[in-house]
Amino acid sequence: GENVGLHLPTLSVQEGDNSIINCAYSNSASDYFIWYKQESGKGPQFIIDIRSNMDKRQGQRVTVLLNKTVKHLSLQIAATQPGDSAVYFCAENTQGGSEKLVFGKGTKLTVNP
């Protein structure tokens, strides 16, 4: 079935620490994954994406890891800053030919100064 869920609803870290946000998905046919950041009162903001033919992708201060064996996705944020405080969603494209994204429930990241 289609189920994208998150292991932890909240995560609190100290400024400067690295953050890891996790996501589990259940559809082994999913072939495209995106991480979004949502600040209060705003829409989901694209952070980074990864296709299923990759297991790692790096951006500026962010890394996404994909483990297809256990159907797990993670977002690593290096040197977390107060401006990183937000709700983070993973989303998956459910199957080849489908355009819709299936979103997880979200993890709220709080960065303490």
Binding site: G41, G43, K100, F103, G104
Partner: protein, 114 residues
């Protein structure tokens, strides 16, 4: 950086009334989407639109809903005969292509049905 814009930011409507939510997608994008997020819940797909027609829709998107691209820049979601449970944030998104392309979201319209 180009962005998706949505108006109004907040819409309050009486139950049973019709409402139109408006979006201006990113100008060179070809695929357009509507999602909704009920308070405290996941973002849910409603519909995708390409080449002036619906390309995919969810079971939520029933006859109460319709979408339109009335001109070269706007993309609208119409909800007829609104119900209390239609209260949610409605997000518009657009992408350059359909498959395996990031969808870029607007900041949403908060729809409150009284």
């Amino acid at each position: 950086e180009p962005e998706v814009t949505q108006t109004p930011s907040h819409q309050v409507t009486q139950m049973g009334q019709e409402v139109i939510l408006r979006c201006v997608p990113i100008s060179n994008h070809l695929y357009f989407y509507w999602y909704r997020q009920i308070l405290g819940q996941k973002v849910e797909f409603l519909v995708s639109f390409y080449n002036n027609e619906i390309s995919e829709k969810s079971e939520i998107f029933d006859d109460q809903f319709s979408v339109e691209r009335p001109d070269g820049s706007n993309f609208t979601l119409k909800i007829r005969s609104t119900k209390l449970e239609d209260s949610a944030m409605y997000f518009c998104a657009s992408s350059e292509n359909s498959i395996n392309q990031p969808q870029h979201f607007g900041d949403g319209t908060r729809l409150s049905i009284l």
